[in-house]
Every structure is written in structure tokens, then in C-alpha cells.
């Protein structure tokens, strides 16, 4: 048991089954738990808590679709599916994961994911997108990225776009003034998994952990941030923090003051300085240069927040990546980490955080491990003979259906229709297309996209949008044209299923489709278009199942 | 030019406007509490005399007979009243018309010979009365819209300001849609138009702006109208603006901007006998100016922001004194402002007297 001590104390609470497992491993001497690959340790911890049968693993086709959507942001192409199904290698899933993670499409997908997670559709800027794309392509560790976002050197072209995270939040929002509490809240939510909103004015009433200094201490870090008006790209200025932030609880009317302090962390002093000492580089009114304060709280935050010592930092990100892969956070909702909303699998969250930290906050590595798990690779079908409502979401006995982002929709519909390569030829045209889809599929600004939220708007879009419908008319080697060239209906139907649903049809499906085509023998192409549309708008296509 | 502050009164509740009597001995204030307040400015301490009672709603218009000590006052419930403003005790009505208009009477004009007065109201009618006894002489509408039921976003014919021309035969009528036109009273013929349409905007469901005040110089060379170039309704913002027309041709000669969008309205205008315009502005609480400017000049001769939310200005017949009806600071009512004793009180109108240099 001592060998397990690398896991934190909470491990002691888990079931004997795990202990037995560890011990048996020790006994045989083949491996120590800590030496096993992370994905195996994850499955051990997850399955130890199963209370009932788990779903079988997905079919190969389902696996490829799931992993492609997650890691490339699109469904697999028909030929990719065919190739994968034909692959007889026992290791083909692991190999596929490595291939997908190494694909040039993977960084683009992760940049989209991070953009939506971090900006919540509040806005976009070319510098920011470039920063995300470059960082993900280089697999920049998460702590470094967060450091860039908090305190990027405007002189360093390779990181300065990261400042957009704050500068966008420092702009007026429509007719509303700058929402500083919202910005403080986002730092807490997105980087630490704590929503400090209610702690602005008093200790949180039903989240005991969230005391008022959770908000005020974070505010002391970022409350001085301003937009630099003297530069053409997003950049942050900072006013000197001259004294502690003063606040009063609305309940206990005694005034308090606090210096910069991370939630649950130590408070930093605010050094006293004479007015002429406050700036390291003084402001210059002529050039609008805002100056550089000697005591920079943003610099301090960049040094203190994205660190191994700050447990909340790693725990937040692994929880978000768990959600990314599994469709639900170990702590759920994602931004309510506190003692009364414990993780469904505390020992697992500890393990993931520890390993993520030990691997220098390597997101790509963690995604590789998560996607290798059985938990990830289970079918979304409830086990045979089991009632759907008896399988809790957070048991991971059955995979959860994950929503598709607007970006996943765009790429997948284009892929299914066989027009992706053509549509992607012009970067601008592709961006416009993504915007067209975003109008139908994206949430409004500031609404996190974490739940499955189908809408009538999106349904109307897919039913009637001329661009989308046009893709299903034969032209330029698209799917419709390809199908028109296959005279045998059965083969055409197989090809259609492969292209749209990334699998072959079962016998019933094939028969039904063939009969339908026979009914419309004179207008076969249009009938195939309707069939394709029906599959495209089916629930099966609409989620990552 | 430097103006000096002479004196200040305070009216509670607020005043709609103030005017000096032609005899120069009284300052009259049209009050939110249905009174016409009277200050004897010949006395050393500007003793307040018993107010004129008998009105309803707000007193909204004051005008004086050209001779005799008679005041014509109108209110927001439609009453027109003639009183002796100089009476030692509470003045009784010399005559009154209880329903001169159906609702808010917006302005009163007195003919140069003093025989007739004209009134306009939100019933969209213009009426002419005998100044001697209040007998109705003329009654006409500018538009055909029914009361409170504007069509297609218009408030056609909702006249806000009236003046007689020097011959007494024609009325200058300015309305809340920014239309200014002449009406010959004999035969009721429309005459020259002055386009002040920039002072109006239909925003969402709201008619915003329109002509709010009107002044002519002594020789009738200029016709000036004041209001705002509206940005939006609701809270109402816009740039306070005075348009100065060549009266003889109707041509717009000068557009005078008196501030930013939150300064909103030119609330009152007067031509000084020496040819310059005096204007007050009033916008979001805390804004407001007194401005003295020649129509053709780019910059004002004098401007002060010492008073906020100036509602009205009165020029003394001696040409040397001005009375400005302003508002107390902090007049915004958000957040339930209470006094120390927990009372909820009205805003007030400081009335500030300024001396013009000779």
C-alpha cells in the first residue's frame, strides 16, 4: 500500500477493489501502479466505482468518428473510415490516436476549442488567433500559455496576441460599460475553476470555501489592467496598485483591505512607494505610453497562478480536458470547484492533476492518455437489459453524447458532403462559411458552450440554407456526384452512410434506403440528396456519440 | 464679456420658467405646484409676495400685457388666466378661461398692440383671445390629428411656441416636430416656413425634440429657435442647438451648437437689445450652461457652467440683468435619495441673477 502513497490521501477512501488491484500488481512484481501508463490507472479508478454493468467498447467506426471529431474537429472521411476498418493491427486505436494528435489539423482544432472556451464568443482578433494557433502547434505547455495571457510582453511578437484575453474584456460590451467583476470572475472560472461572482460583496453564502477575499484578492491582481491605447495590437497597460483593495462585506460592515491573493493562497504585500517611485518606466503623455509600474500585479499573477504549487490551476485544466474528452467534468459544473461540490472521482482528479503537473502541463500528452482509456472508448449505448436512467452520467459506464461546436459542424457537414477540400481552398471563404454556421450553431456571447443545446434556429438552417442544400447537388466531384456515378443502389447507400455517418448501414437501413431509391428511380440523384440530408440532420450526426 | 453673479433665490418645488415684468419691478416664476410666484425686486431683499393661485398642474406659460400690470398665465390643465401681477396682496383673476385648451397650454403670445393674445396647447389648437376679457376670437388647428393619437409617428400641429409679428396680423408658430411657419390670422393662411427639422427625431415610439424655445430680435431681422439635435429618445440626449434664420427670407443663417450630446436642450433663448443671443441649456442632471453669443460668431462672448440644468432665462427690461432658473446639483433620483430625517423631497430651482456689463 505504501507504494500507492504518491496518490493523495483521498485515495485511502476508495474501495478495496482498487487496493486489491494495486496489491495484486505488486505481488506479481510486473509493475508498480505508478509506473503504469496513465490511461490504465484512470480506468482502474473509474471502474472501481462502477456499480453495474458498463457498456461495451465502441465499434471501430464509432471510435474513429469520436476521436476524429475530438482531435481534428471533423468527422473522418469515407476513405479514412475504410482504411481504419481494414486495418488488422491490434494497436490500431492507439496508432490512430497518435496519428490524429500528430496531424496538422489537430492544432487548428485545439485552437478553436481554446478560443471558444476562453473567449466564450465575446470576440476575436487575428493576433489572438495567431497566438493560439502557434502555441498549440508548438504544444506550448498550458502554464506558459496562461502566463502569456496574463502578462505578455508587447515587444515579443510571438506572444503578444495573448493579451487579447484581457483586452477584449476591458472593452465596452455593446452599450454596457466594461464589466470588471465579470473579468475577475472569468480569471477565476477559466483558470482556477472557481466562480467568485457572489463573493464580490460578501463571503459566499452557500459555497463556504468562497470567502469574500476570493474575489477581492483576485481583483487586487487584475483590477489595474487597462488597454494600451498607444499600440495597434491588443496589449495591456497597468496602473500601479498603490495600496490594498478596501472592501466591506454587506453583512459585516467592518472595512477590510487585501493585497493580491489567489483563492485559498497567501496574500501579497503591496509595497509602499512614493508617487515618483511607482513607475519603473514612467508614462509619457505625448505618446500615450501608459508606463510600467514598479510593482506589477499582473506580473505577480503570471508568476503565481500558473504554477505547480497552485493546485487549483492544474485541477481546473484537467477537469476541463476531462470534460472535453468525456462530456462531463469530474467536477461539474466546470467552474464550481469547492468542498461541497466534490469531484465524482476525487482520487482521479488528484491523479490527473499530479500527472499533468509532472508532465509540465502538456495538453497533447494528456489528451493522448484520456483517449486511450476504456472510459473514453465505451459505446454511448446503454448496456443491454439495463434501464437508461439507472446509469448515472458521472459513472462513465456508458459514454456521454457530446455537443458539436459550430466549428465542428462546419467542417463535418462540408466533409460529409464531399466539399471540404474545395471550400477550404480560400481561407477567407472558409472563415465566412464558419461564420455562417456560427450564426446557427454558436451560443450567444458569454454563454459557455458546455451543454447539448439544439435549437430551432439550427434546424431551420439545416432545413433551408441554400448553401448547405446546394452541397448535396452533384457537382465538382462532391458526394452527390460520386453517388450518381455508382449505379448499384446498395453500393451507393453504403458509400452514403460511410460519408455521412462514418459507418456502413445495417441490413435494415440498407434495405429501406434501396427501396426508397427504387421508388424515385427517375429522380435518383434528388432522392439520394434527401437521404443524405436525413442522415445529416439525424441525432446520430448531430452529436459526438 | 464678463457677467457677474448678483444674487440668488431658491424656489421649491421647481419652476418651469421665470420672467421679469415689463415694469421691471417684479420677477414672476411659473411653478410645478400650480402657483405663479412673485418676487418684488424693487425691494432690497427681493421680498416674495403672495403667489397667484388658481391654476392646475404646472404653470407652463407666462406673458405680459404691453401696458398695465397684467400677467397672462397658462397651465398644463388648460387654464388661461389674467391677473394683476403687481397687487400687494394675493392677486385675484381679472378674467380666466378654465378650458382654454384641452390639457397642457404650452405658450402665450401677446399682440404688439396688446389687444389680443394667442395660445397653443397639446390639443393641437391655436386660439386667439381678447386681452381685455378673455373672449375667444379665433380657434384653429395646425394639423388634423386627434388628441393623443399621433398618426405615423407624427405629432402634427403640436405647437410649442408662438409669437406675433410686429404688425400683429401674423403668428410665428413652432412645433414639436421642428416645423416653424407663419400663419396670417386674417383668412388663416399659411405663410413662410423655416425648416428646423434637424431638431426632431422619431426614435422607436417617441417623438424626440422639436422646437422648445423661440426668440426674435427687436428689429425682426433674426428668428432664433432652440432645441436639440436629438440622438435618442428615452433619456433623451442630443446636442443643444439654436438655429438662427433670416426672418425676411426664411433662410437658415447660423447653427449654434452649445455643447455635447448629454447637454441636450437649448431650454430658453432671448435676444439682447445689443444684438447678441442669450441661451440656457439643460441636459442630463449636472449638465447645463448659460451662454452669450453673437449669431455669426464661432465662440461665445461668455459661457458659464456654474449653474446646472438651466430651465429658463429672463432678461430684465433694463437690459442689464438676467435671471436664470437652474436646478440643484444631484437632482438625479435613482437610488431613493432621502434627507437625514428620512424625508423624500422635491428638487429645487435656484434662481440666479446675473449682471451684464454695460
Amino acid at each position: 500500500m505504501r507504494r500507492c502513497s504518491r496518490l493523495t490521501d483521498s485515495l485511502l477512501a476508495i474501495t478495496l477493489a482498487v487496493a486489491a488491484c494495486c496489491c495484486s500488481l505488486l505481488a506479481t512484481g510486473t509493475a508498480r501502479a505508478a509506473d503504469l501508463p496513465l490511461h490504465q490507472r484512470i480506468d482502474t479508478l473509474i471502474e472501481a466505482r462502477h456499480q453495474g454493468p458498463a457498456s461495451e467498447l465502441t465499434t471501430d467506426a464509432e471510435f474513429l468518428r469520436r476521436a476524429s471529431l475530438d482531435l481534428l474537429g471533423r468527422i473522418p472521411r469515407a476513405d479514412e473510415v475504410r482504411e481504419f476498418l481494414a486495418d488488422r493491427s491490434a494497436e490500431k486505436r492507439a496508432q490512430a490516436i497518435d496519428r490524429l494528435l500528430a496531424s496538422p489539423e489537430h492544432p487548428a482544432r485545439m485552437a478553436d476549442f481554446l478560443h471558444v472556451m476562453l473567449m466564450e464568443r465575446q470576440g476575436d482578433a487575428p493576433e489572438w488567433r495567431k497566438y493560439l494557433a502557434d502555441s498549440v502547434a508548438a504544444n506550448k505547455p498550458w502554464d506558459k500559455m496562461v502566463r502569456d495571457m496574463i502578462h505578455a510582453d508587447p515587444a515579443d511578437e510571438s506572444v503578444r496576441g495573448a493579451a487579447f484575453f484581457f483586452t477584449k474584456r476591458l472593452e465596452n460590451y455593446g452599450q454596457n460599460p466594461v464589466d470588471v467583476p465579470g473579468m475577475v470572475r472569468d480569471v477565476g472560472r477559466l483558470f482556477l475553476g472557481v466562480d467568485v461572482q457572489c463573493a464580490q460583496c460578501h463571503d459566499h453564502l452557500f459555497v463556504k470555501d468562497y470567502t469574500q477575499d476570493y474575489y477581492q484578492g483576485l481583483f487586487a491582481f487584475v483590477g489595474q489592467a487597462q488597454i494600451r491605447r498607444d499600440l495597434k495590437f491588443p496589449a495591456l497597460a497597468e496602473a500601479p496598485l498603490k495600496k490594498k483593495v478596501e472592501f466591506t462585506s454587506v453583512f459585516v460592515k467592518e472595512p477590510r483591505a487585501i493585497g493580491p491573493k489567489l483563492p485559498g493562497g497567501k496574500e501579497f504585500d503591496v509595497p509602499e512607494m512614493k508617487p515618483d517611485e511607482q513607475f519603473q518606466v514612467p508614462p509619457d503623455r505625448k505618446t500615450n505610453f501608459p508606463g510600467v509600474p514598479r510593482f506589477s500585479t499582473l506580473k505577480l499573477l503570471a508568476e503565481q497562478l500558473p504554477t505547480a504549487e497552485n493546485r487549483a490551476f492544474a485541477r481546473n485544466m484537467v477537469n476541463r480536458l476531462w470534460w472535453f474528452a468525456m462530456g462531463r467534468g469530474l467536477v461539474h459544473p466546470l467552474d464550481l470547484h469547492h468542498s461541497e461540490n466534490p469531484p465524482s472521482h476525487p482520487e482521479l482528479l488528484d491523479l490527473l492533476a499530479a500527472e499533468f503537473t509532472a508532465h509540465h502541463f502538456d495538453v497533447r500528452w494528456l489528451l493522448g492518455e484520456l483517449t486511450r482509456t476504456r472510459a473514453y472508448q465505451r459505446s454511448s449505448r446503454i448496456p443491454e437489459g439495463v434501464a437508461a436512467d439507472s446509469v448515472p452520467e458521472d459513472s462513465y459506464r456508458t459514454a456521454l453524447e457530446k455537443p458539436l461546436s459550430s466549428e465542428q459542424w462546419t467542417a463535418s457537414v462540408a466533409e460529409a458532403a464531399g466539399v471540404a477540400a474545395r471550400e477550404r481552398q480560400s481561407v477567407e471563404a472558409w472563415e465566412k462559411l464558419r461564420e455562417r454556421f456560427a450564426k446557427a450553431f454558436a451560443n450567444p456571447p458569454k454563454e459557455p458552450e458546455t451543454e447539448f443545446a439544439p435549437s430551432v434556429k439550427a434546424a431551420l438552417f439545416l432545413m433551408n440554407d441554400p448553401v448547405v442544400l446546394g452541397w448535396f447537388q452533384p457537382a465538382n466531384g462532391n458526394l452527390a456526384e460520386r453517388l450518381a456515378g455508382i449505379p448499384e443502389s446498395e453500393r451507393a447507400v453504403d458509400e452514403l452512410y460511410l460519408a455521412v455517418l462514418s459507418r456502413t448501414p445495417d441490413a435494415d437501413e440498407r434495405l429501406e434506403a434501396v427501396q426508397m431509391l427504387a421508388k424515385h428511380a427517375d429522380k435518383r440523384s434528388a432522392a439520394l440528396g434527401r437521404l443524405a440530408w436525413a442522415l445529416l440532420t439525424s441525432t446520430e450526426f448531430s452529436v459526438n456519440h | 464679456m464678463e457677467l457677474a453673479q448678483l444674487k440668488s433665490l431658491e424656489a421649491d418645488p421647481q419652476l418651469v420658467s421665470a420672467r421679469f415684468s415689463p415694469c421691471g419691478k417684479f420677477l414672476l416664476g411659473a411653478s410645478y405646484d400650480a402657483r405663479v410666484r412673485r418676487w418684488d425686486i424693487a425691494s432690497e431683499d427681493w421680498t416674495e409676495k403672495p403667489a397667484i393661485d388658481g391654476h392646475g398642474g404646472w404653470v407652463t406659460a407666462l406673458a405680459f400685457a404691453s401696458s398695465g400690470e397684467r400677467l397672462f398665465s397658462g397651465d398644463s390643465w388648460g387654464q388661461l388666466r389674467c391677473s394683476n401681477y403687481a397687487a400687494a396682496d394675493k392677486p385675484a383673476a381679472l378674467w380666466q378661461v378654465a378650458a382654454a385648451h384641452d390639457g397642457w397650454l404650452r405658450d402665450i403670445a401677446v399682440s404688439p398692440d396688446g389687444a389680443r393674445i394667442a395660445t397653443c396647447g397639446i390639443d393641437k389648437r391655436i386660439r386667439v383671445w381678447s386681452a381685455a376679457d378673455g373672449a375667444k376670437q379665433l380657434d384653429f388647428a395646425l394639423g388634423d390629428g386627434p388628441l393623443f393619437a399621433p398618426r405615423n409617428g407624427s405629432l402634427d400641429g403640436d405647437a410649442a411656441c408662438l409669437r406675433f409679428t410686429p404688425d400683429g396680423k401674423t403668428l410665428i408658430v413652432a412645433d414639436l416636430k421642428g416645423q416653424v411657419e407663419l400663419w396670417e390670422l386674417d383668412g388663416l393662411k399659411r405663410g413662410r416656413k423655416f425648416d428646423a427639422g434637424v431638431l426632431f427625431k422619431y426614435d422607436r415610439l417617441q417623438d424626440v425634440g422639436g422646437v422648445r424655445c423661440l426668440a426674435t430680435d427687436a428689429g425682426f431681422q433674426w428668428l432664433a429657435v432652440g432645441g436639440t439635435i436629438p440622438k435618442n429618445g428615452g433619456s433623451v440626449t442630443g446636442v443643444p442647438t439654436a438655429l438662427v434664420f433670416d426672418f425676411a427670407t426664411g433662410e437658415l443663417k447660423h447653427t449654434l451648437s452649445f455643447g455635447q450630446t448629454n447637454d441636450c436642450y437649448v431650454s430658453d433663448l432671448a435676444f439682447h437689445p445689443r444684438g447678441f443671443l442669450v441661451a440656457t441649456t439643460c441636459g442630463t442632471p449636472g449638465s447645463g450652461q448659460l451662454i452669450v453669443q453673437k449669431p455669426g460668431d464661432k465662440d461665445p462672448l461668455f459661457a458659464t457652467k456654474k449653474m446646472v440644468n438651466c430651465q429658463s432665462l429672463a432678461l430684465h427690461p433694463d437690459g442689464e440683468r438676467l435671471a436664470i432658473v437652474a436646478t440643484n446639483a444631484g437632482s438625479n433620483g435613482n437610488g431613493r435619495p432621502l434627507t437625514k430625517d428620512g424625508a423624500y423631497v422635491t428638487n429645487k430651482s435656484p434662481v440666479v441673477i446675473w449682471k451684464l456689463p454695460a
Binding site: 437508461a388 451560443n443 | 404646472w58 397642457w104 422607436r204 433623451v236 435619495p337
Partner: protein
């Protein structure tokens, strides 16, 4: 009362633990129950096809006649003193007069002459006292009924009614919102009920985007492709949690129903006499369209008018605004009464707060949640009633104060729902429909 705080003490009287414990272990059920059939089986049911939609707990409580709601939102804050609670000739009364109404002894502002003639249908509560005096928080807070904080976002009244009563036999969206400006699908209104109970907003009364089917697709083709989609979904549903598939199917059903009702948006086909009666201005058009929507069977219609935040020039402002509310409001009441729809249609006209008695230097009135009025009609409310009163100068409520929670309980009562018994089921977490400390305003119930 101005507070910079994001939340208030009274929002916190509930321990989060009580439900998080539940939610963590319960199986996920999005929204309320009863959506299983996705609206496709809303027929052949004695209670007007309500069965599958109703929260089972209230199925027995709702009367036979289908209840509907029209909710007129005057955004920014209508002045109670220039509308339902005039105080002419008093310190803060402003310039306007009061006029008699069709109910002897009851007076309203002269700015509502047409509504005054419909007063015998109306129930006006003059003793509303709410908590929030900022628009940014107030609009949502009022429309969500300002319940005690349970750590969840409560639905707007429209979403609540959509959830509790469903779309009815027409399968039109249960909650539509006719508003100036842009339209769209406003799912934020739904709060914890889930996106499908959000509002379908018709910007400037126009249909949403992509409402027209391309000409190349015939009716039969469209039916066929949707039948194929439904068949695919039936297969997919096998051995899967039902929530995702149900919700996904539902949005297509609703979209298809909407596409069949283009007539609701074609203002050129509206009766010119009606257009004249309701007014050719924006709010008139939208209120007439609201009547059409009610006639078509939409459960909850919200109509928005913006620009009532008259901090400046309040009196000229209300002269413009109030009459453009008065005309269509009176016409709507008259029409609903004439069609005997008022018996089962709840009409509500309100803002996020009233306006200050004190008149500011911009001759405006500011925000006043302390003492204001709400006008309502129909659906079991008293007719020709005025409930509650403010003091002589209109500054404070003199009778018992009613908060928005009282109104919510009252409205639910009108809809046949006992809000003290029925609860929402938020993934296993029971949640009251309205503020626990408030109750029905009995005085206004017929």
C-alpha cells in the same frame, strides 16, 4: 438603495448543498419531463392535446380551456404617475390630468384615454414594490420572478409557462417574443429549464432566418426527408438515454410547424381596419401580430417596446410613448373580450420598475421600484378592479406591498397552477415556481 453588488443577501437563503448532492447522483434529465414524444403525438387527447407536455403534477389542475398569456413589456420603465396611478395636482404629480374610466370612481392618466374605456376589463395593482432599480439586473430579475437564490438561473415567465403548459395542439413554439430590432432564439430566458424553453424572437415581427423552404423541394419531398430523419432517430434511440435524441427531434418538429404558419408574419394580409385601430406604429403592429399569434394558439406571446427610460423630458416622452401603448393595448383588450378569449388569456402590461416621483433637472423621472403599478386582465382576474394604493404623493405604497413574487404566484394561479404545490424538477432538484415568501394576491382574483 443603489448597490454596486452583484447579488443580494436575500438571494442566498438556500443551501447549495441540498441540491448539489442530488444532482451529482441523479440521472440527467434536461428540462422537465414530458417531451418524450417530441410534440408528434399531441393529438387525440381529451385535454386539448396537453398531456405529453404537462408536468404530470399539474395535469389535473389545468382546466379544459387552454390558457394563454400575452405579456407586454415596456422596457426602461413606464411612469406609473403618467399611466395607472396619476396624482394630479400633488407635489410630484407632473403636468398631466387624471381622467375617469369605464369604472366609476377609478381614474387613470389622461395619457391613456382608450385604455380608460376598457378599464372594466382590467385589474390594476398599484402597490408594487420591488427590489432592483437597475435595468441591467432589473429586467431579468423581474421577468424571472426574483425567487430566492438556489444557485440556478430561473426561467423568465415566458419560459416557465412554455415549460408548464407546453405548446398546445398547434405545436407552434410555446414562447414567442415579438420585439423591435433583431430576432433569434433567445435561450437564456429559459435558465435551468434548458434551451428549448427559450424564446423564439421575431425581430420587428418578421420570421426568423431560413423560414422559407427552397423551391426545388416539394411538400412531398420535404415530408419524405423528414420521415427519413425521424426513422434514423428512432433507430438511434435504441438503448440510448432519451434526452438528447428527444430534444434534437423536437427542434425540427417546431421548425416545421413554424414554416407552415408564414401567414402570421405577412403584415400585408392583416385587416386594414385592425391596422388602423392598433396603430400603424411599431408597437401597434406588434400588438396586432400578438393577437394573431394568440388566435393561432401560441401559448405565451411577449411583446416588447423599448425606450421607456425617460430620465429626460419625461412628460413629452410619455406624451409620445403612452399614447402609442394606449391605442393597441385598448384594441387588444377590446378584441380579446369580444372574442371571448379574455376568459382564458392572461394579459400583463408592465416594466422592470416605475419612475421616481421626484422630477430631475432634465425634467425626467428616474428609476423607482418602491411604488409602482402593473396592469393585467383576464384569465380569472377581477374585472374593473384596482388593488392597493400609494400614498397621496405617490412616493411609497400605503397598502400592503406586493413584490414580483406575489405577481408570479398570482399569474400561476390564473393559469390553473398551484405554485405552492407544483415544483420544477431540475435534474432531480425540486425548485419552487415562485418566491417562497410570497403568495397569490387574493384581492385580484375573481
Amino acid at each position: 438603495m443603489t448597490s454596486p453588488h452583484l447579488c443580494r443577501p436575500w438571494e442566498h437563503a438556500w443551501s447549495r448543498r441540498r441540491f448539489l448532492g442530488t444532482a451529482a447522483t441523479a440521472a440527467a434529465v434536461v428540462g422537465s419531463g414530458g417531451l418524450g414524444s417530441g410534440g408528434s403525438s399531441l393529438n387525440g387527447n381529451g385535454s386539448a392535446g396537453l398531456g405529453p407536455w404537462l408536468n404530470p403534477a399539474i395535469a389535473g389542475q389545468v382546466e379544459q380551456k387552454r390558457k394563454q398569456v400575452v405579456f407586454i413589456w415596456l422596457d426602461g420603465g413606464m411612469s406609473q404617475l403618467e399611466s395607472w396611478d396619476p396624482k394630479p395636482g400633488t407635489l410630484f404629480g407632473g403636468p398631466f390630468r387624471a381622467i375617469p374610466t369605464s369604472v366609476p370612481g377609478v381614474h387613470v392618466s389622461e395619457l391613456l384615454p382608450k385604455s380608460a374605456r376598457q378599464m372594466h376589463h382590467l385589474a390594476v395593482v398599484r402597490s408594487i414594490c420591488t427590489k432592483d432599480n437597475s435595468h441591467s439586473a432589473g429586467v431579468a430579475r423581474i421577468q424571472r420572478g426574483d425567487p430566492k437564490n438556489r444557485g440556478v438561473t430561473y426561467p423568465y415567465f415566458g419560459s416557465a409557462v412554455a415549460n408548464l403548459l407546453g405548446p398546445g395542439p398547434t405545436n407552434l413554439p410555446p414562447y414567442v417574443w415579438i420585439k423591435p430590432g433583431s430576432g433569434g432564439f433567445i435561450h437564456q430566458d429559459a435558465g435551468f429549464l434548458g434551451p428549448k424553453f427559450g424564446a423564439l424572437a421575431f425581430g420587428d415581427g418578421k420570421p426568423p432566418e431560413n423560414m422559407l423552404r427552397p423551391e426545388m423541394l416539394s411538400d412531398a419531398d420535404d415530408d419524405e426527408r423528414n420521415a427519413l430523419r425521424a426513422a434514423a432517430n428512432r433507430r438511434y434511440a435504441n438503448r440510448r438515454r432519451p434526452t438528447v435524441n428527444d430534444a434534437s427531434s423536437y427542434v425540427y418538429d417546431t421548425a416545421r410547424t413554424l414554416m407552415k404558419r408564414q401567414d402570421l408574419f405577412d403584415t400585408s394580409k392583416f385587416d386594414p381596419k385592425d391596422v388602423e385601430r392598433y396603430g400603424t406604429h411599431e408597437l401597434g403592429r406588434h400588438m396586432l401580430q400578438a393577437r394573431k399569434m394568440l388566435e393561432a394558439g401560441v401559448t405565451f406571446v411577449k411583446v416588447n417596446s423599448y425606450g421607456w427610460d425617460t430620465h429626460g423630458d419625461n412628460f413629452n416622452g410619455h406624451l409620445s410613448l403612452a399614447c402609442r401603448f394606449d391605442q393597441p393595448f385598448a384594441a387588444l383588450i377590446e378584441d380579446l373580450a369580444a372574442r371571448e378569449m379574455l376568459d382564458h388569456t392572461l394579459v400583463i402590461a408592465m416594466s422592470e420598475f416605475g419612475r421616481t416621483p421626484r422630477i430631475n433637472g432634465h425634467v425626467g423621472r428616474d428609476h423607482w421600484p418602491e411604488a409602482w403599478s402593473v396592469a393585467m386582465a383576464g384569465c380569472g382576474l377581477k374585472r374593473g378592479a384596482v388593488i392597493g394604493e400609494t400614498n397621496d404623493v405617490g412616493t411609497w405604497v400605503k397598502s400592503r406591498e406586493f413584490d414580483i413574487g406575489h405577481l408570479f404566484h398570482t399569474w400561476f394561479r390564473c393559469l390553473g397552477i398551484d405554485s405552492k404545490k407544483v415544483e420544477y424538477d431540475n435534474k432531480g432538484q425540486p425548485l419552487p415556481l415562485a418566491h417562497d415568501d410570497c403568495e397569490v394576491i387574493q384581492e385580484v382574483i375573481a
